[in-house]
Symmetry: C2
């Protein structure tokens, strides 16, 4: 049986795992899970009821994006995505938590959840206050990415890795919605242009939501 990843197209956490798998050249099949249905078979795999969930070809189930990425880096070591010494690894993990938890809560949840997930899952109209808050918060995060990108080759240090992947997973969802003010953050844009041209990123640029086209520049490598 082929390796499977349960996901939803604009889940930044599922996108993070898709990028890890692709960077490690691991083949997998994508399955869209309607998490709001709370399918018993899905809850048995992940009692938290969330995507992503990875099922290896031998049936091993791994749930929770942070656990999946660490698992993939331990089992399929090349290329390493977390860093080589404990200090670099701590910095990568600090940044992954920053993007997944802080940017995730302050920006992505406000914009992607309100504009996309609520519609796809039939959870009612978007909360316009949340959308305004998300748009206000994104600038500070793009400034932080610019700050890092000015001082380091990649966000976590000299080597491309999970900090870049986590940040790009969130920003790619926001970029689908046209909510990233790239023009006023050129250093963050330069970093994202470099990420966008990686082969691992191509499948994400081909994602299309039903009845909701991406921003015009979404899949343009020279936007």
């Amino acid at each position: 049986m082929m390796r499977r990843l349960y996901h939803i197209p604009l889940s930044p956490f599922a996108r993070k795992v898709r990028l890890c798998l692709a960077e490690k050249m691991l083949e997998f099949e994508l399955i869209v899970e309607k998490v709001a249905r709370r399918r018993p078979e899905f809850l048995a795999m992940n009692p938290a009821g969330k995507v992503p969930v990875l099922v290896e070809s031998d049936g091993l189930v791994v749930a929770e994006s942070s656990a999946i990425c660490e698992y993939l880096d331990e089992v399929y070591a090349a290329p390493g995505l977390i860093g080589s010494d404990p200090i670099d690894r701590a910095e990568t993990r600090r940044l992954v938590a920053w993007f997944d938890l802080k940017l995730g809560r302050e920006v992505t949840a406000n914009l992607v959840f309100e504009k996309v997930i609520k519609r796809l899952e039939g959870l009612g109209p978007p909360d316009t206050t949340a959308i305004r808050v998300g748009r206000q918060n994104i600038g500070r995060h793009l400034e932080y990415i610019s700050y890092l990108a000015e001082r380091r080759r990649w966000l976590g240090g000299d080597v491309f890795g999970l900090a870049d992947i986590a940040a790009a997973a969130h920003l790619s969802c926001l970029d689908y919605l046209g909510d990233v003010p790239w023009a006023v953050h050129p250093l963050a844009k330069d970093w994202y242009v470099r990420i966008k041209s990686r082969p691992s990123f191509r499948p994400l640029l081909l994602d299309r939501l039903p009845e909701m086209m991406p921003a015009a520049h979404y899949d343009n490598l020279d936007f």
Copy 2:
């Protein structure tokens, strides 16, 4: 210079790191950080402005509790707290995320933030709706702990580790407030009694907030 940990007494994330340090027999000095003051020197160590922050004796700064625990397990390997093979490690990390993120958001944030942090940091009166929601949610988490404790020696598997530490870090804060209905969850209670008697737990049981005594059984090993 002695190793330092910046914390606040009822931060479950700081308690998780305190337990890791103590299980590994590493000495450290605790420093209370008033995070709401946003001290520039503290923000320079952790731009997220949160505890815990670990400063090693050589000055190395490690921020974000998940990154600190992984760092400690890599640098001070014995006793290992995450597991020995990648599958056990993935299960430990899944549970740590469950307790830190799901129980953290559904229960601890509602109770500890509203009842303690708001008062200590002068952030206004508690939101009684949030407190009611937190009390409603805790039962389901104690059921999950009971479910795990019935099937495994420790929550993550055969060996005491970070899943137990993360769960106990949250529950010990809630127990200080008297908000854990132990009597109706005897399996979870049995597990907590075993944790509570570990030497690493003793310093947590000695914590006292200003003008807010703990529940009567808080530091009782045979409650």
